[in-house]
């Protein structure tokens, strides 16, 4: 990254940036500006990331020895439950949509805000409310159900603050639904003149797809959790066999939500990577419509594969065979995206900046996670490795290696736009590489552990697994350093005297780069009018302005 823009961009008129528009607490906590709300989310999800990471640290320390010396059995159960619950619902699901999506969706389509700005603020408050309840659970006894809340464990046997946790996740669902609703309406109704559907950035397509899942899958989780709570509190036994219920029903309902939810966590990441790759290659993306429709296809097929989590739950083999087939099918659109990114980079004039390093790391880890997903979708293999560390490694490759890496990549890519500051590029490249190495050292051994039979969710294990567990824990320490680095140099860039970012530091196309860094209060001066295709490299004038 250089101080000077590498490509031309329309001249900026002076306007107050959204950051300079009021400094009082009130101007932040009662703001309806989507950009400020994005920053509120950034701070809050970072906090929850730390909470989840603390629990992960306990888990990895405990697993250093085969006897599980650090935590009690109960304590270990609580550690991994809190880790999963916080990381899934309070960090990863909101991470990209609510921070980057909130900031960028309106700007990328040339709007001045989301369709319902107050609803946007409300969803942050709902998120905070549910987050506080979760923190209460952490200090007030914890939960030991795992993030999956399987019945009858959660409804009958588990002790601890199960109902409080369920209520917390339930409430956070409203925040998610409102965000999805807001995005869909915004993308339909607030596109700038000339911003046709075929000109939408791929980031927008993937947020559109994820919003559909937000709106349609989250309520199924809500009703499921409501039923568990009803069973615990008033004895309406939909899941408990002694009360007439059916425990498998829980698994069906839970995974009907939670498989789409895994795509909730990865679709926005796919959108981010499409932007990073095209910007680094300075090329139009190869197969725009394939990439756009792949997002929609993933959203749709993702609703029909939940049974692959139940291959050993006594589901009929015919059902399992169908779910196996559909699970293999859902890998196709993801693979299409990977091919298209690769072809986009082929023979391109590539700028190897930190965001690209993150994007490349994403592709490698996502492919590894996806291929092992295919393995798990095969009935015969899954029976062998289900409920082992193989599964743990699979989903961490996708959710952490994939989505978290993409989140970091996106944060680095849009940081100059969001804050108006440039960070230290060398440190950023080091962090990107450190994260990639640390991640692999942490999670690759887990594939081996799982394949050899180490079950998940146990902290006492046969001594022959110790070597791999120690390697994994050491990798986690490295990974933690990698994740801590950006916190330092990104905050450093904000200090007085930090280098100012130009409007378009990467020479990227896209409406967000045509406005100043940081953008003015209403994003643009005048209403932008879009006259060119997306990713119209080499850049000329992607927009013309109509200030009338």
């Amino acid at each position: 990254m250089t101080d000077e823009p590498r490509f031309e961009h329309p001249p900026e008129e002076a306007a107050t940036s959204y950051l300079a528009d009021g400094y009082s607490l009130r101007s932040w906590f009662l703001t309806t500006d989507h950009k400020r709300i994005a920053l509120l989310y950034l701070v809050s999800i970072t906090f929850f990331f730390l909470v989840g990471a603390g629990a992960a640290a306990l888990i990895r320390l405990d697993l250093l020895t085969p006897q599980g010396d650090l935590l009690s059995n109960d304590g270990y159960n609580r550690a991994f439950s809190i880790h999963g619950i916080v990381m899934v619902w309070f960090f990863l699901i909101p991470a990209i949509p609510n921070v980057l999506g909130n900031f960028l969706v309106p700007i990328m389509i040339g709007a001045r805000d989301l369709a319902f700005p107050r609803l946007n603020l409300l969803s942050w408050y709902i998120y905070i409310l549910s987050g506080l309840l979760t923190l209460y659970v952490v200090v007030g006894g914890g939960v030991d159900t795992g993030w999956t809340f399987y019945t009858p464990l959660s409804s009958v046997y588990a002790n601890g603050a199960v109902v409080a946790t369920i209520v917390a996740v339930f409430i956070s669902g409203f925040s998610t639904i409102l965000t999805g609703l807001n995005f869909i309406v915004t993308i339909h109704k607030l596109r700038a003149p000339g911003m046709t559907w075929s000109r939408l950035p791929l980031f927008i397509w993937s947020h559109y797809a994820v919003s559909i899942i937000f709106v349609l899958a989250t309520p199924v989780l809500a009703i499921t959790l409501l039923l568990v709570a009803a069973e615990r509190l008033i004895g309406i036994g939909v899941f408990d066999p002694r009360l007439g219920g059916d425990p498998l029903l829980f698994q069906h309902l839970f995974w009907f939500y939670s498989h789409p939810a895994v795509y909730i966590m990865v679709l926005p990441a796919l959108g981010v990577v499409s932007e990073l790759i095209t910007a680094a290659a300075h090329k139009r993306i190869f197969g725009y419509w394939f990439v756009a429709f792949a997002s929609i296809a993933i959203a749709v097929i993702g609703f029909m594969v939940w049974g692959h989590h139940m291959f050993v739950s006594g589901q009929s083999v015919y059902a399992s065979a169908v779910f196996s087939f559909l699970s293999i099918a859902v890998a196709v659109p993801s693979a299409i995206k990977v091919y298209n990114w690769t072809v986009t980079l082929y023979k391109a004039d590539i700028a190897i900046d930190a965001p690209l390093l993150f994007a490349l790391g994403f592709i490698g880890l996502f492919v590894a996670g996806g291929l092992t997903g295919l393995m798990l979708a095969m009935l015969a293999i899954d029976v062998h490795v289900t409920d082992t560390y193989f599964v743990v490694a699979h989903f961490h490759y996708i959710m952490v290696g994939g989505s978290v890496t993409a989140f970091f990549g996106g944060l680095h890519f849009w940081w100059p736009k969001i804050t108006g500051r440039l960070y230290n590029e060398t440190l950023a490249r080091i962090a990107a590489i450190l994260i990639l190495i640390g991640f692999n050292i942490t999670f690759f051994p887990q594939f081996m552990l799982g394949y050899e039979g180490m079950p998940r969710r146990y902290h006492v294990y046969p001594p022959e697994f110790q070597v791999l567990h120690v390697i994994s824990s050491m990798g986690a320490a490295l990974l933690a350093i990698g994740y801590a680095m950006p916190a330092v140099y990104l905050i450093w860039s904000l200090l007085p005297g930090g280098r100012r970012a130009p409007a378009n530091p990467w020479g990227a196309s896209g409406l967000e780069w045509t406005t100043s860094s940081p953008p003015p209060q209403h994003n643009f001066i005048g209403q932008p009018v879009v006259v060119r295709q997306p990713y119209d490299y080499p850049l000329a004038h992607p927009v013309s302005r109509d200030d009338g």
């Binding site: 609703l181 869909i184 309520p219 009703i223 009907f256």
Partner: protein, 208 residues
Amino acid sequence: MAEEERFAPFADAARARDADRLGMLIFLASEIMLFGGIFAAALALRLEHGPDYAAAAGHLKLWLGTANTAILLTSSLMAALAVEAARAGAPRRAARALLAALLLGCAFLAVKGVEYAGEYREGLMPGTATAHFDGPAQTLFMNLYFVGTGLHAVHVTIGILLMAMAALSQRARQDRNAMLIGNVALYWHLVDVVWLFLYPTLYLAGVR
């Protein structure tokens, strides 16, 4: 400036109204998925334990369910008339229609309450001391019945409150575009539609 800011972030009122309507429809889609879980469970139960399902459904009071269906349909009609009245510029007629819809909603809840009380007395309420069932499938049916109709009743209550709000707001009644009344009515229609599915799923399944 002020005029143009009024509909921000939209350029004009028509677009803002479009967006409100779309937002409401998306919210309703989400609500359908909320009930979808219960319907899916009921369907699975019926496929796997058909005779038990029918036997358990036979314990419900068909005529109370039918009466409630008629009440809710009429109420929905009233809500639709309120929208028409507001559009025609007749705020008082709109308020009266909303009031009728709202009272019918209350009547629905009253009937439901009578029904629940009867079921409690007959030992059809799982988890209570007097409860007795022929087998787990029948218990599960009654569980689903209580969760499904209970959740629906919560929605009826919210709908009643929303209609009261709309009826009391002068702005809403005088709005020739009937935005608030229209969206509230949409919500009320959804509550009605959910019941139209609950009724055959739960009550009619017991008819021999």
